[in-house]
């Protein structure tokens, strides 16, 4: 096409610019700042960290490790020694090249020793290690620059970091291509009402939603992003409290809870009733754990008129509502459950535990640790039967009563578009580097 023709087109576009309606294009546009608002309890660090700091491998949507900072690897027969070949032409945010020395320095410690062998990094682990463990965000690669700041290799660099807000800027030399967005601005501690208002006024592009906010967000024109259920909501008994040590009482409480009703009403069917610790999408065998209520059996187990105190996070409105509903269920079988926010004096706690997007056995070990359950070192094999037996053993004393597996849910303005990967992975992790912002309709 001759240049002169483009001159004509240029003039035309100036004429049309003021009046044309803008419509979605398939190919993405570069530029713009994505404004994200979050409420507690998700930590800002957890949200922003993986975008700035990368691991040797990354898990795909099916949980399979894929090359990230490493492009190939091999292991010895014991699974303790791993050798990784690093991706060439990777740069830290300050422009310095990723060197094997930096990787070895970042990954050594916590049961691993790291050294360089030729062009490869060799990791020697104290225990057999699966490849998926190299995708753990806690094993991210970083370096300290001369001013002491942390430098990562991820698609965004931390441009501003305060207690309740962060600004991430595009890493211009990112090995997988510069992100489409210029920046991501994240603000924490915003109430649901504030977030909705900002979304409707165009001051926020992406807000965090509770299960019962979805309808309103949809009515506001937002697109709903939802992960697989990645958070376990459970009751955890406090060890050492006299009533919490009554095994029959714990079992009675577990059998009293009408999860189906809570799921339908309070959670608007967003999530799954949980009988086990791991969700079905991760383990595949969660269907074996019963979630049914058995009030008759629960009444048989209760002796006297026990009174238990249940604590929940005062800033977590959904948790408070569920705690109240659990108390109603408990009362129906003869257990008086006093809901409170003073965690120090509670017999049991309503807790949320984030499930690590790792292989099932590692996810279970992490989850058990976060719920103060015994460790699972007796898990001799990652075979499904062994994993199921281990999970069953963890739950048989009813020290923890799983209630629900909940997804991460977000509302996005229509101008937020995705390219090759969605903005929210099934595992609940953000992938904001593949988002782009379309023009607003006038």
């Amino acid at each position: 096409m001759p240049r002169s023709a483009f001159h004509l087109l240029a003039a035309a576009s100036l004429l049309l610019g003021a009046t044309s309606r803008l419509e979605a294009a398939r190919r993405p546009r570069y530029g713009g700042t994505l404004r994200v608002e979050l409420r507690a309890p998700r930590a800002l660090e957890a949200a922003a960290w993986p975008m700035a700091f990368e691991t040797l491998v990354a898990l795909d949507e099916s949980g399979r490790p894929q090359p990230a900072l490493a492009i190939s690897w091999r292991r010895d027969a014991t699974g303790r020694r791993w050798q990784f070949r690093l991706r060439p032409n990777v740069k830290f945010h300050d422009g310095s090249p990723l060197a094997a020395e930096a990787v070895a320095a970042a990954l050594g410690g916590s049961g691993w020793s790291a050294r360089i062998a030729g062009e490869e990094v060799v990791i020697q682990a104290e225990a057999p290690t699966s490849l998926a463990e190299f995708a753990d965000a806690r094993r991210a690669v970083f370096a300290r620059s001369t001013d002491g700041s942390l430098q990562g290799t991820g698609p965004f660099r931390l441009a501003q970091w305060e207690s309740r807000r962060a600004m991430l800027a595009a890493h211009e030399e990112y090995w997988a291509g510069r992100p489409f967005l210029d920046a991501v601005a994240i603000e924490m501690g915003r109430t649901a009402q504030q977030q909705f208002l900002d979304l409707e006024l165009g001051k926020a592009d992406l807000i965090e939603l509770g299960p019962n906010d979805v309808r309103r967000a949809t009515q506001s024109g937002a697109r709903i992003w939802s992960s697989a259920p990645v958070t376990l909501m459970a009751l955890r008994f406090e060890r050492g409290r006299p009533l919490a040590e009554d095994a029959k009482l714990r079992e009675a409480l577990a059998l009293s809870i009408d999860r189906a009703a809570i799921l339908n009403v309070l959670l608007q069917k967003r999530g799954e009733a949980a009988g086990g610790l791991l969700p079905q999408w991760l383990s595949g065998y969660a269907v074996l754990f019963s979630t049914a209520r058995d009030a008759a059996r629960a009444r048989q187990l209760v002796t006297g008129a026990p009174v238990l105190s249940l604590a929940s996070d005062p800033s977590d409105a959904l948790a408070r509502m569920i705690a109240d509903r659990v108390a109603v269920n408990a009362r129906e079988v003869g257990i008086r459950l006093l809901t409170a926010t003073e965690a120090g004096y509670a017999d049991l706690h309503l807790v949320r535990a984030r499930i690590s997007p790792l292989a099932s056995e590692q996810a279970l070990v992490r989850l058990a640790a976060s719920l103060q359950l015994p460790d699972l070192l007796h898990l001799s094999s990652p075979a499904l039967e062994s994993l199921y037996a281990g999970e069953r053993a963890l739950l048989e004393e009813y020290r923890v009563i799983p209630l629900f597996h909940l997804p991460e849910i977000y509302g996005a303005r229509p101008r937020v578009k995705t390219w090759a990967t969605p903005g929210l992975l099934r595992t609940g992790e953000w992938r904001l580097d593949d988002l782009w912002l379309d023009s607003e309709l006038p």
Partner: protein, 361 residues
């Protein structure tokens, strides 16, 4: 037709090894030659026909091991066909009195089936592979494929392409939505990437030499370095262009397609197209048509449809040719055909198609 049915049947058939393994584990948990009551529940994405196939196979395997199947038998085997994010999880709960045992197997997921192909506008598969394809040019006995890291040369051996040689491209940090274009003339070819131009030979031995360059691509404008848009003087960035008679069209970054008339400078724009357009000369109808993708997100299926311009508006002149994923590139490949690259949303495979229009619709 018989062949199609056989293909479908093979796709529906359960992974036999997994059934054998599950039956073996169930048999090990049962007493010798017991009567058992078998139930099979589907908690997965398997279709009813697949579940029935699994059930038949388990029954057959248990009978072959000497077990009798009876609905009132004291020993029960409850099979649940479930799945996790990595594939299937088939569970059998074996109960005999107070004894309960759980066994599991993890079958591999059957390959996803491709979407059906509507007719009316023709496509011909050139190549399918897991690695991204930027452009592909098929000659009589030679196929040249431009990938993000190399140019690959294939030779036709009987009815299929056989990889002959690959020449690496200089390593670069490419834009995320990487675009590339091939142009072949005689034994020479050119490859265009953002900020890079390569020249090479396809015969007798493939060769390639690249240099930093902001030279115009075959559409007549250079691609903006580090971006996915073409730029021309005094013109807003655009994704693709097509020339139809006296009109030229440009797919703009605002999602609208702008057109202009060289003679009168009368201009306008319309919506409804995606960002990849290309013109073809068929001699049918108005003589020249524009093939355009559909506007939507990149994680949706796509389609290519032919249009003519009438009254300064596009008029569809062919049915939409549906693909099982987004069209990631579409370039004119000859006067009457284009090459479209697609990414299958289910399998992740990239495919290069030659799309052509026929007059006999």
């Amino acid at each position: 037709m018989l062949r199609l049915i056989l293909v479908l049947f093979s796709l529906l058939a359960p992974p036999e090894d997994s059934v054998l393994e599950l039956a073996r584990k169930i048999a090990a948990a049962l007493g010798p030659r017991e009567a058992v009551a078998l139930t099979v529940r589907n908690a997965s994405s398997l279709a009813a026909a697949e579940v029935a196939g699994v059930r038949r196979e388990i029954e057959s395997q248990l009978r072959a091991r000497g077990f009798t199947l009876a609905s009132d038998a004291p020993a029960t085997v409850a099979v649940t066909l479930a799945e996790n994010w990595q594939g299937g999880v088939w569970i059998a709960e074996i109960r005999h009195g107070d004894k309960r045992e759980v066994v599991m197997v993890a079958p591999t997921r059957p390959r996803e089936r491709a979407a059906a192909t509507p007719m009316g506008i023709d496509r011909q598969l050139i190549l399918e592979q897991p690695d991204p394809i930027l452009d592909a040019v098929a000659l009589e006995s030679l196929l040249v494929v431009l990938e993000p890291t190399e140019v690959v040369f294939y030779e036709r051996k009987e009815a299929r392409w056989e990889r002959r040689q690959a020449i690496a491209l200089p390593q670069r940090v490419w834009p995320r939505d990487l675009r590339g274009r091939l142009a072949i003339e005689g034994d020479s070819f050119e490859a265009f990437l953002p900020g890079l131009a390569c020249k090479g030979k396809v015969q007798p031995e493939p060769a390639l030499q690249c240099e930093e360059s902001d030279a115009p691509w075959p559409i007549g404008a250079p691609l903006k370095k580090g971006s996915n848009t073409f730029e021309a003087e005094k013109l807003p960035p655009f994704y693709s262009t097509a020339r139809v008679g006296e009109y030229s069209l440009a797919a703009g970054v605002d999602g609208r397609t702008q057109w202009f008339d060289n003679a009168t400078a009368a201009t306008g724009s319309f919506g409804g197209w995606g960002s990849d357009i290309a013109a073809v000369e068929t001699g049918c109808g108005g003589g020249r048509q524009v093939l355009a993708t559909r506007p939507s997100d990149a994680n949706e299926t796509d389609a290519v449809q032919a249009y003519e311009i009438a009254g300064r508006q596009p008029v569809g002149v062919s049915p939409a040719l549906e693909f099982s994923g987004p069209v990631t590139a579409m370039w004119a490949s000859g006067p009457a055909s284009v090459v479209a690259i697609t990414r299958d949303l289910k399998t992740g495979q990239y495919a290069a198609f030659r799309i052509s229009l026929t007059c006999s619709r």
